[in-house]
């Protein structure tokens, strides 16, 4: 999403909105590149199968190109701008609450995923003394720690993780992951069995779960045959349909489609604070 800049051009948070929009635009670039990669002709990935006479199973292995490292760099710009939008917000609220630019020097939007106490400690350090109780509470309300065990997957936690890794350590590299639902695929396979009353030569099927990272050569599908029924291994097994892939980023494994949710969450925070500022219409 992109906020209409013309609406905020004269607002005190115009810089915050500009940073937010910059992040959205960069993410659109990234999303387009990912779409092009996944929909290339020929496809960037395929499957190669072979029969394993030891385990009496047919194994399909993933073959494909690695997603480009450049995506990690673009994502770095996205998260940098989104994280900065939150910090700029704190600086503007500091000025609103009677502080100065000097008060902003150490100011930062705290992101606490562990506990309320962690938030209080961070807020004491990162929110200037002039910050009003009301505004401190507004920073506390959207914090990840409220989610308990789910806190590491909270949009702000993910944003902080991606941003810190990119700033100081490594690019948030991208990986391909299985985006097809294993249960759905296997149920379909079972239902499509056309052997009539004949017993199926298939002992069992196995497929990686949705979300599983797919690397070059990794087995993603196995058909285990019944040695008693299928006494000779098949030379070929036709696999119908396509492997549906997704792209994930960083150690946190952020599904590229979920970056939008992080943006929307950050925008909600910005919007709430926007109402705190007196309306300014210098252009009237």
């Amino acid at each position: 999403m992109t906020a209409p800049e013309s609406e905020y051009a004269f607002h005190r948070l115009a810089g915050v909105v500009a940073k937010f929009n910059r992040s959205s635009e960069q993410f659109d670039v990234l999303r387009t590149e990912i779409w092009q990669f996944l929909n290339e002709d020929p496809e960037p990935h395929f499957s190669r199968g072979e029969f394993d006479a030891d385990s009496w199973e047919w194994i399909e292995r993933f073959q494909g190109r690695e997603p480009p490292l450049r995506w990690g760099v673009i994502l770095g710009d996205c998260v940098h701008n989104l994280r900065s939008a939150l910090d700029h917000l704190i600086c503007q609220v500091t000025l609103l609450d009677g502080g100065t630019m000097d008060d902003c020097a150490e100011a930062q939007f705290p992101i606490a995923s562990k506990s309320e106490q962690q938030f209080e400690n961070m807020a004491d350090r990162r929110l200037p003394a002039c910050f009003s109780d009301k505004h401190r509470a507004m920073v506390k309300e959207p914090q990840p720690f409220h989610d308990g065990e789910g806190a590491p997957r909270h949009p702000l936690s993910v944003l902080a993780d991606l941003s810190n890794a990119d700033k100081h350590r490594v690019l948030n590299t991208s990986v391909s992951f299985m985006d097809s639902d294993a249960k759905e695929v296997l149920d379909r396979l079972v239902a499509s069995y056309q052997g009539g009353d004949e017993p199926s030569p298939v002992h069992s099927w196995w497929m990686v779960k949705r979300g599983h990272h797919l690397e070059q050569g990794i087995p993603w599908f196995r058909i285990v045959f019944d040695r008693a029924i299928l006494t000779e291994g098949p030379v070929k097994v036709e696999m119908g349909g396509n492997i549906r892939l997704g792209i994930a980023f960083g150690d946190v494994g952020l599904d590229s489609r979920d970056f939008k949710k992080i943006g929307e969450y950050v925008w909600l925070i910005i919007e709430r604070f926007m109402r705190e500022f007196p309306e300014t219409k210098y252009h009237d």
Binding site: E5, A14, G15, A18, K19, R22, L69, R70, G72, V73, I74, G76, D77, H80, N81, R83, S84, D87, H88, I90, C91, M101, C104, A105, A107, Q108, D166, K167, H168, R169, V170, L171, T173, D251
Partner: protein
């Protein structure tokens, strides 16, 4: 070795391999530098476009009192667009982050096995201006890099310039980054970078303004009497640009030129000297 132990070892090996594959970050700093160059190209285009659109701000007029020919520049009705500051900010971010990622890669290269979490999270390219770093401050940031690389990083520190530390490239980069990250977009202003003079075309004396921001109608050249006809196009007299504004550590410096110089400095004086320690 029992099966259980073998499985435990295999799992451990697999975990280490995963950490190694995901954490070397060796090309990261280079990709960040490349990205900064892409932003620089876009910045150059955005600045040129802005100046092109505002070319009519430079014009000729005659001083009604003295009859002197003047070349003046009017201030723009609105400040340079946010997009210029936003692209500049992205460039700054990538330049600065490339330094931290370089330290991570140097640490990785010099350390046997995967980096511990503590070391990995402490990696940072130190930049100390007003005072020198304490030993423990350096240990935390560059404690895992080759001792010779650490020495080079120490020698690059802005505090060695004494009171002039604030004019050092690394210090300015760090301050610009902090400004953009936490406080505000780096403000940009419309300004005159230089004046182009062709003395041979002058038939009388003339006074010039050399450089500075354009906040109000500003005289760039004043000819004594009418402008000489042989004098070249007045628009070429004023070399205009977009510069960093007040409140930024690079006040008055042309945005594109300064950041481009900074990128060259990092390539030649920092990364170039430290990459031998990545082998």
């Amino acid at each position: 070795v029992g099966k259980k132990e073998r499985l435990r070892r295999e799992r451990k090996d697999a975990e280490l391999a995963e950490v190694e594959a995901g954490s070397t970050g060796l090309p990261g700093f280079q990709l960040k530098m490349d990205r900064a160059r892409v932003h620089l190209e876009n910045l150059d285009l955005a600045v040129k476009k802005w100046l092109d659109v505002h070319a009519d701000l430079v014009r000729e007029e005659t001083d009604p009192e003295t009859g002197d020919g003047l070349i003046v520049v009017d201030p723009p009705t609105v400040s340079p667009a946010d997009i210029i500051a936003l692209i500049a900010a992205d460039c700054i971010h990538n330049l600065r982050a490339s330094l931290d990622q370089l330290v991570f890669s140097l640490s990785w290269a010099f350390t046997a096995g995967p980096l511990s979490k503590q070391v990995a999270e402490g990696c940072e390219f130190p930049i100390f201006g007003p005072r020198g770093p304490r030993k423990q401050e350096l240990d935390k940031r560059v404690g895992a890099v080759h001792p010779d690389a650490r020495r080079i990083i120490e020698d690059l520190q802005p505090h060695h310039a004494g009171d002039a530390f604030a004019r050092e490239e690394l210090w300015i980069l760090d301050q610009l980054w902090n400004l953009d990250k936490h406080r505000m977009l780096p403000v940009t202003v419309f300004g005159q970078q230089a004046v182009q003079i062709n003395p041979q075309a002058l038939t009388s004396s003339a006074t010039y303004r050399l450089h500075g921001p354009i906040r109000r109608k500003t005289e760039i050249v004043r000819f004594e009497g009418a402008r000489p006809e042989a004098y070249p196009d007045p628009k070429s007299a004023a070399v205009l640009d977009i510069a960093f504004g007040k409140g930024t550590p690079a006040y008055g410096r042309p945005v594109t030129g300064f950041l481009s110089g900074l990128a060259d400095y990092l390539r030649d004086e920092v990364i170039g000297k430290l990459t031998p320690f990545l082998d």
